[in-house]
C-alpha cells in the first residue's frame, strides 16, 4: 500500500526525524517499506521555464525551436509537442536532468542540424499523469526559475509498504501513524469531527434495515443534502493521486480519502435513486445475477451479502456498487454507508467473483466495527465542506450486536519465557498505551490489556507479546549462541536416498529434477493420473504417474540441443489413483510413492584414441541395476524375470521381485513410445520403487572369512543351439556341480559360420574352492568332467575342441 509522508504528518509530528529513520523503524517493526520515492530527489533539477520565442524547425515539420528562460538565462530547446506556444510557463529540464520515464539523462543534442539544450516535459515523462499528447502547461502565476518541486509542492515521500494479512488496521494513514507514535514515542492526532447539522432529520429521509445480522453486524449512515458534484479541489486530488488513485469527483474522492485516512471503506449512494429511500442488508437466497457499476453482469453465489433498496439489489456489500444507485453528475442528496461486514462473508464473495477492490481487501481482512460512525461523520464533514450541501440531523446506526473491546492478561514472566529476555514493565505499558490499548496492573506479574476493536489480530497473550517484541525491536532480543542438545533424537529419514544418490554418482549418473506436473498424455502413459482442479495451464494439469515420461522429455530436450549421450537418474514421488477411484477424498484413494529411475541413451564411450564408439545397451542398465542392488545388500534377496513381450513401454525388460512384489522394472523403451517424444535413438530405463525397497528387511552384514587356500579355476566352452539361455546353463551347472564349485561366469560368447548356423558358443569359467583345505586337482577334475557330460547331454551341446 502506498503511504504518503506528508499525509502522515497530519496525524503525527515527525519534525526532526529523517526519512531513512522512519523507513527503517517501519520496516523493523513489521510494516516493511518495500520501496519509496522521494519526490524532492526525483524532481530536484526541473524548473519552471518560460517560453520566450518559438519558431518552426527549418528541417522538420513537427519540431519547434523554442527559447526558454529560467529567469536568468535563455536556452535554445527543440520541442516535438504540438501545443508549445510562446508565453507558456512550462517544465524545463536542463542538461544533466534525469527524466523519470525511461530513467535517462538529458544531454546536449543536435536535432536535424539544430542544437538543443534541455527539454520541455510532458506529464507522463515526469510520472505526474498519463498525458503524453503535449507538454505540461503550468499555471501562469508560478514564478519563472522556481524549482518545480517547490512550485507544485512535490516535496513528498511516497512509501510502498507491504502490510501483512494480519494487520488490516495498518491499511490507512492513521493506522501507520499509530505504529509510528509507538516507535518514536509521539502523540497520535486524530482529526476532530464537528458537524453543522441542518433541520432535516435523517430518519425522515432514510431508513436502514439489517436482515442478515450475522454478516452485517453494524451499519452506520449519514445523509448530506444539496451537494454539488464537481471536480475535487487541488489538495484533495493531490492527496489521492499521490497514493496512486485516480480522482473521479468530489464525493468519490472524499470517500476514498477517508478510507485511506482511517481504514474504513465507505460507499456513497444517490439517496434519490434508492427506491423507498431505504437500505436493506440481506443475503441472496438462490443464484442471482447483478450488474456492477463497471457494466458487467455477474453471477452471485447463494448467501452473498447484498445492499438493497425497496425494489432490489443496489450493491454487492463491501465489494462494488451497482449502476443504478451511483453518484451521477446531477446527484443532489447523498447517503453515506459506513458498515462493518463479516470478513469471511466478503472474502467468499470476492473470491468467487474474482474481484478485489480497495474496500473488499479491507473488509475481508477485518475493519474496525467501532469506527463506522466516526468515518461516516468524517465523510459528511468533508462533503459539506467541499461539495457544499447540508448535513441532515442525526445519524442512523444499526448495531444489533455490539462488538466490545477485548481484554487479555499479560504475564511479564511469560514474555521472558517466550522471548528470552526481560523488558521493563514501564516500557511495556508505554508500548501498549501508544498503540491505543489501555492497561491495568493487576499484580506484580500481571497486567490487563484492553485491546480496541481495530486490532483484529490480537486475540491472545502471545499476540501481546509479539507487540512488545516488534515495537521494542527484534534487534534488542539477545542472540544466544548455544542450544542444548537432547540426546537420542538423531534420526534421518533421508539417509537411504542420500546413499542411493552416492551410488548413482559412482555409476557415472547425473541427477536430474523434473516438475511432477505434466500434460495428460505424459501422465496417462504409465498410470491412473490425478488431476489438478485449478491448473496453471493444460501442460501442467496432471501429476506424474511414473518418472518415465518426464525423463524421456528431458532426453528430447537434450537431443534438441545436440546432447546425445546421457546417463541420468532421478529420485522423485509419483502419484496414482487407486483402482476404481475417481477423486481424492482421503489418503486411501491414491498412492504416493518414491521412485528411482536410471536412464541411459546414446554412447557410453565416444570415439577415443583407445577405443571405438560404444553405445549403451541393455547389459549396461542391467549391470548398473545389479551393482546398485549389490551395494544396498539386497543382491541375494531379489529374483529376476525377463520378458520380451506384453509391455506397453518396453520392448524387452527385466523385472526385479522381492517375493511376489515387483520392486523394479525396466529395459529398452519401445520405439513407438520414443516416437511420441521425438526420440530417434535407443533409450534404456529402469525404475525402482524405493518405498518397496525400504520395506525389505535388510540383513545386517557379517564378516566372511577370507580365503586362505588356493582356488582352482577351470574353463570350458560349448556350442549350443542359438536359443539356449546362458542363465539356464549356468544354473544347471551350479546345481549339478559339486559343493566345491562356488562360482560360474561367462567369459566369451560368439556366433560364426564355422560353428554352424543357429548355433552359438558360450565359454564358462568355473571357480572351485574349499574354505578349509587345498583342493586336489583330481577331485575338481572329476566334477568338471562330469559337468561336461551333463551339459552336453542336457543342452545337446558340443564341447569345443581344446
Amino acid at each position: 500500500m502506498k503511504i504518503s509522508l506528508n499525509w502522515l504528518k497530519e496525524y503525527i509530528d515527525l519534525e526532526g526525524i529523517s526519512i531513512q529513520d522512519i523507513i527503517n523503524k517501519l520496516t523493523m517493526s513489521g510494516l516493511e517499506v518495500e520501496d519509496f520515492v522521494n519526490q524532492n530527489e526525483k524532481f530536484k533539477n526541473f524548473i519552471v521555464g518560460y517560453v520566450e520565442e518559438n519558431e518552426k524547425h527549418p528541417n522538420a515539420d513537427k519540431l519547434t525551436i523554442c527559447k526558454v528562460t529560467d529567469g536568468k538565462k535563455s536556452y535554445q530547446v527543440i520541442c516535438g509537442a504540438p501545443n508549445v506556444q510562446k508565453g507558456q510557463k512550462v517544465v524545463y529540464a536542463p542538461i544533466g536532468t534525469i527524466i523519470p520515464k525511461g530513467n535517462f539523462e538529458i544531454k546536449k543534442a543536435k536535432i536535424r542540424g539544430v542544437e538543443s539544450f534541455g527539454m520541455i516535459c510532458a506529464e507522463d515523462e515526469l510520472g505526474l499523469g498519463d498525458d503524453y499528447t503535449g507538454i505540461m502547461v503550468l499555471d501562469s502565476n508560478l514564478k519563472v526559475g522556481q524549482k518545480l518541486s517547490d512550485a507544485l509542492e512535490l516535496n513528498n515521500v511516497i512509501m510502498e509498504i507491504a502490510i501483512t494479512p494480519n494487520r488490516p488496521d495498518a491499511l490507512s494513514h492513521i493506522g501507520v501513524a499509530r505504529d509510528l507514535t509507538a516507535l518514536f514515542d509521539k502523540e497520535l492526532k486524530i482529526p476532530e469531527v464537528k458537524l453543522n447539522e441542518s433541520d432535516i432529520d435523517i430518519n425522515d429521509v432514510a431508513s436502514i434495515v439489517i436482515e442478515d445480522e450475522e454478516n452485517c453486524p453494524r451499519y452506520s449512515a449519514r445523509v448530506v443534502t444539496d451537494v454539488k458534484i464537481e471536480e475535487s479541489p487541488g489538495w484533495l486530488k493531490q492527496r489521492i493521486s499521490g497514493i496512486g488513485l485516480k480522482p473521479v469527483n468530489n464525493i468519490v474522492d472524499i470517500t476514498n480519502f477517508v478510507m485511506f485516512e482511517c481504514g474504513q471503506p465507505l460507499h456513497a449512494f444517490d439517496l434519490d435513486r434508492l427506491e423507498g429511500k431505504k437500505i436493506i442488508v440481506k443475503s441472496t437466497k438462490g443464484k442471482t445475477k447483478f450488474t456492477t457499476l463497471d457494466s458487467k453482469e455477474r453471477e452471485l453465489l447463494p448467501d452473498t451479502l447484498m445492499i438493497c433498496d425497496d425494489k432490489g439489489d443496489v450493491a454487492i456489500a463491501g465489494i462494488m456498487g451497482g449502476e443504478n444507485s451511483e453518484i451521477y453528475q446531477d446527484t443532489k442528496n447523498v447517503l453515506i454507508e459506513s458498515a462493518y461486514f463479516n470478513p469471511s462473508s466478503i472474502r467468499r464473495a470476492s473470491k468467487h467473483l474474482q474481484m478485489s477492490t480497495d474496500a473488499s481487501y479491507r473488509f475481508e481482512r477485518g475493519t474496525d466495527p467501532g469506527n463506522t460512525l466516526y468515518a461516516a461523520e468524517r465523510t459528511a464533514q468533508l462533503i459539506a465542506k467541499i461539495a457544499g450541501g447540508e448535513i441532515a440531523k442525526g445519524s442512523i446506526d444499526v448495531y444489533p450486536k455490539k462488538i466490545d473491546n477485548k481484554k487479555f492478561i499479560l504475564r511479564h514472566n511469560r514474555v521472558n519465557k517466550v522471548l528470552g529476555y526481560k523488558i521493563s514493565k514501564q516500557h511495556t505499558l508505554k508500548i501498549f498505551n501508544r498503540l491505543g490499548m489501555k492497561t491495568t496492573e493487576l499484580s506484580e506479574d500481571e497486567i490487563e490489556v484492553t485491546v480496541p476493536t481495530f486490532r483484529v489480530d490480537i486475540e491472545r497473550e502471545i499476540d501481546l507479546i509479539e507487540e512488545i517484541a516488534r515495537i521494542s525491536g527484534y534487534d534488542n532480543i539477545p542472540t544466544i549462541p548455544k542450544i542444548s542438545i537432547s540426546l537420542g533424537l538423531k534420526h534421518d529419514e533421508t539417509l537411504f536416498t542420500d546413499r542411493i544418490r552416492e551410488y548413482c554418482n559412482a555409476l557415472g549418473l547425473y541427477e536430474l529434477i523434473n516438475n511432477p506436473l505434466q500434460p495428460k498424455h505424459f501422465a496417462a502413459l504409465t498410470g491412473n493420473a490425478i488431476e489438478v482442479s485449478n491448473p496453471q495451464s493444460i501442460d501442467m494439469k496432471y501429476l506424474r504417474t511414473s518418472l518415465l515420461s518426464g525423463v524421456l522429455n528431458v532426453v528430447t530436450r537434450n537431443l534438441n540441443r545436440g546432447e546425445k549421450n546421457l546417463a541420468l537418474f532421478e529420485i522423485g514421488n509419483i502419484f496414482n489413483l487407486k483402482k476404481g477411484k475417481k477423486v481424492v477424498s482421503s489418503f486411501n484413494d491414491f498412492d504416493e510413492e518414491e521412485i528411482l529411475i536410471f536412464v541411459l541413451t546414446g554412447n557410453k564411450i565416444e570415439r577415443e584414441w583407445y577405443s571405438d564408439t560404444e553405445s549403451f545397451n541393455f547389459y549396461d542398465i542391467k549391470g548398473m541395476v545389479n551393482s546398485f542392488i549389490d551395494k544396498i545388500s539386497l543382491d541375494n534377496l531379489l529374483n529376476d524375470s525377463y520378458y520380451t513381450t506384453d509391455n506397453s513401454i518396453y520392448e524387452y525388460y527385466l523385472t526385479k521381485f522381492f517375493k511376489d512384489r515387483v520392486i523394479g522394472n525396466g529395459g529398452k523403451v519401445k520405439d513407438h513410445v520414443l516416437k511420441q517424444f521425438d526420440i530417434d535413438q535407443d533409450v534404456y530405463c529402469f525404475e525402482f520403487n524405493l518405498d518397496a525397497l525400504k520395506e525389505i528387511p535388510v540383513v545386517s552384514k557379517k564378516y566372511a572369512e577370507l580365503l586362505r587356500y588356493p582356488r582352482i579355476i577351470l574353463d570350458f566352452a560349448f556350442i549350443f543351439d542359438k536359443e539356449t539361455k546362458f542363465e539356464d546353463v549356468s544354473e544347471f551347472i551350479k546345481n549339478k556341480g559339486s559343493k566345491l564349485l562356488k562360482y560360474v561366469n561367462v567369459f566369451d560368447i560368439f556366433e560364426s559360420k564355422e560353428i554352424g548356423d543357429n548355433k552359438k558358443s558360450i565359454a564358462f569359467q568355473l571357480e572351485y574352492y574349499d574354505s578349509s583345505r587345498t583342493l586336489t586337482e583330481n577331485e575338481v577334475e572329476k566334477d568338471f568332467e562330469n559337468l561336461i557330460k551333463l551339459v552336453s547331454k542336457k543342452f545337446n551341446a558340443k564341447l569345443r575342441g581344446n
Binding site: 523493523m28 517493526s29 513489521g30 516493511e32 501483512t164 494479512p165 494480519n166 470478513p343 469471511s344 473470491k351 475481508e364 517466550v418 522471548l419 528470552g420 529476555y421 502471545i462 509479539e466 517484541a469 516488534r470 527484534y474 534487534d475 532480543i477 544466544i480 549462541p481 542450544i483 537432547s486 533424537l489 534421518d492 533421508t494 542420500d498 544418490r501 554418482n505 559412482a506 557415472g508 549418473l509 547425473y510 541427477e511 536430474l512 529434477i513 523434473n514 511432477p516 506436473l517 485449478n534 496453471q536 501429476l543 537434450n558 546417463a567 541420468l568 514421488n573 477424498s585 577415443e608 584414441w609 583407445y610 588356493p710 582352482i712 587345498t774 586336489t776 586337482e777 583330481n778 581344446n802
Partner: protein
C-alpha cells in the same frame, strides 16, 4: 621336481609368448598351456605324487603360475583388439587419460545437503512427508482457517475440496508432532508447490527446508542464535544480519531474517531492491494454536520454527538468474556442479 618343472614351464611360456604375432598364435599358446590337457593341467596332475607337507606351497605356486599365464594371455589379447589398425604404439605419455565419469547430484540436492549437514550437527533430525496433502495438515492445523486472507499468501493447487499439493513442508511438522512428544528437534526438507505464473523468478514447484524445535524452554533468543549460527556457517563468518517482524499464521511472533546483500555488499542494487538486504528465511515462535491442534500443552511448551527456499539460496549462491534452468535438466547444466 615339480617346483623345477613349474619354473621351466614359466620360462617356456614367456618365450612362446614373445613369438606371438597375432590372435591365432595366441590362441594356440592358450591351448598349449591352459587347455584341458595342457602343460599346466599336467603339472597339477603331478601334485598328487608329492609329499603331503609340500602340497600347500606347491599348489599355491601352481595356481600362481596359472593366473600369471592367464593374465598375460588376456593382456596380449586385449592389445590385439585395441591396437587394431594403429600398429605399434609407442608409449606417448602426453596422450589424454581415459575418460571416467563420476556423475553428480543435482545442484539443489547439493545445496540441501550442505544445509542439512549444518543442522544435523546441531542435533536436528531429518523428516519427510507426502507432497499430496490434506487441507487440514497443510492449512487448518497450521492455523490458516478456511476463508482467511492468510491463504492468499500461498497460492494453492487443489486436487479436490480437501486435498492439495502442499504449499510448504510445514505439514510434516504437524505429522511429526502428532506422533511424538517433545522434545522435538527436526528439519523437514521437501518439494512444495505454488500456483504462481512461471517466470525467471518463480516456478510452480520448488524445494524448502523447514526446522522445528519444541521443548519446555525454547525462546526467541535461541531461535536467533540458531539461525545466526546456521547463516554464518553457510554464508560466511563475517555476516551482517537482521530480524524483521513478519507474519505467518503458524508462528507468533514471526520474523524474516535478512543478511547483507552479497551482490552489492549492502550499498544497494537491483537484486536487493536498493535496500542492501537480502531475505533468506522466515521464522518465528510456534503459535499456541498449532500446539493445541497437536495436543501439546502451550503453557508448558514453547518452540520455534523456520523455513527457507532452496532454489532461492542456490540462485544467490551460484549466481543463477533464472529459476527455470534447475528443471530443464540440460546435461551441460547438470555437469557444471
Amino acid at each position: 621336481m615339480l617346483a623345477q618343472n613349474t619354473d621351466k614351464v614359466n620360462i617356456d611360456f614367456l618365450k612362446d609368448l614373445s613369438g606371438v604375432k597375432n590372435a591365432d598364435d595366441l590362441e594356440q599358446i592358450r591351448i598349449k598351456y591352459l587347455g584341458r590337457n595342457g602343460v599346466i593341467s599336467k603339472l597339477f596332475n603331478q601334485l598328487k605324487h608329492v609329499a603331503i607337507e609340500d602340497k600347500p606351497a606347491l599348489g599355491k605356486n601352481l595356481n600362481l603360475l596359472r593366473s600369471e599365464v592367464t593374465s598375460q594371455i588376456e593382456k596380449l589379447k586385449s592389445s590385439f583388439v585395441s591396437q587394431k589398425s594403429k600398429g605399434d604404439l609407442q608409449m606417448d605419455l602426453t596422450l589424454p587419460g581415459k575418460k571416467y565419469q563420476i556423475g553428480s547430484k543435482h545442484i539443489l540436492t547439493q545445496t540441501l545437503d550442505e544445509i542439512k549437514s549444518i543442522f544435523k550437527e546441531m542435533g536436528f533430525s531429518v523428516h519427510v512427508g507426502p507432497e499430496l496433502e490434506s487441507d487440514y495438515n497443510n492449512f487448518e492445523a497450521l492455523n490458516f482457517p478456511k476463508n482467511h486472507p492468510a491463504r492468499d499468501m500461498q497460492d494453492t493447487f487443489f486436487i479436490s475440496k480437501d486435498f492439495l499439493l502442499r504449499t510448504h513442508t510445514s505439514p510434516v511438522q504437524i505429522r511429526l508432532m502428532e506422533n511424538m512428544k517433545p522434545p522435538v528437534r527436526a528439519i523437514m526438507p521437501g518439494r512444495v508447490y505454488r500456483n504462481e505464473a512461471v517466470s525467471a523468478r518463480s516456478f510452480c514447484m520448488f524445494h524448502q527446508v523447514e526446522g522445528l524445535y519444541v521443548d519446555t524452554d525454547v525462546t526467541f533468543a535461541e531461535l536467533k542464535g540458531t539461525l545466526v549460527s546456521f547463516a554464518s556457517q553457510f554464508y560466511g563468518e563475517d555476516l551482517k544480519y537482521r530480524f524483521r517482524p513478519s507474519y505467518f499464521p503458524f508462528t507468533e511472533p514471526s520474523a524474516e531474517m535478512d543478511i547483507t546483500c552479497f551482490i552489492c555488499k549492502g550499498s544497494g542494487c537491483k537484486i536487493c531492491k536498493n535496500t542492501g538486504w537480502m531475505e533468506i528465511l522466515g521464522c518465528g515462535m510456534v503459535d499456541p494454536n498449532v500446539f493445541e491442534n497437536v495436543n501439546y500443552d502451550p503453557e508448558k511448551y514453547t518452540g520455534y520454527a523456520f523455513g527457507m527456499g532452496i532454489e532461492r539460496i542456490a540462485m544467490l549462491k551460484y549466481g543463477i538468474t533464472d529459476i527455470r534452468i534447475f528443471f530443464e535438466n540440460d546435461i551441460r547444466f547438470l555437469k557444471q556442479f
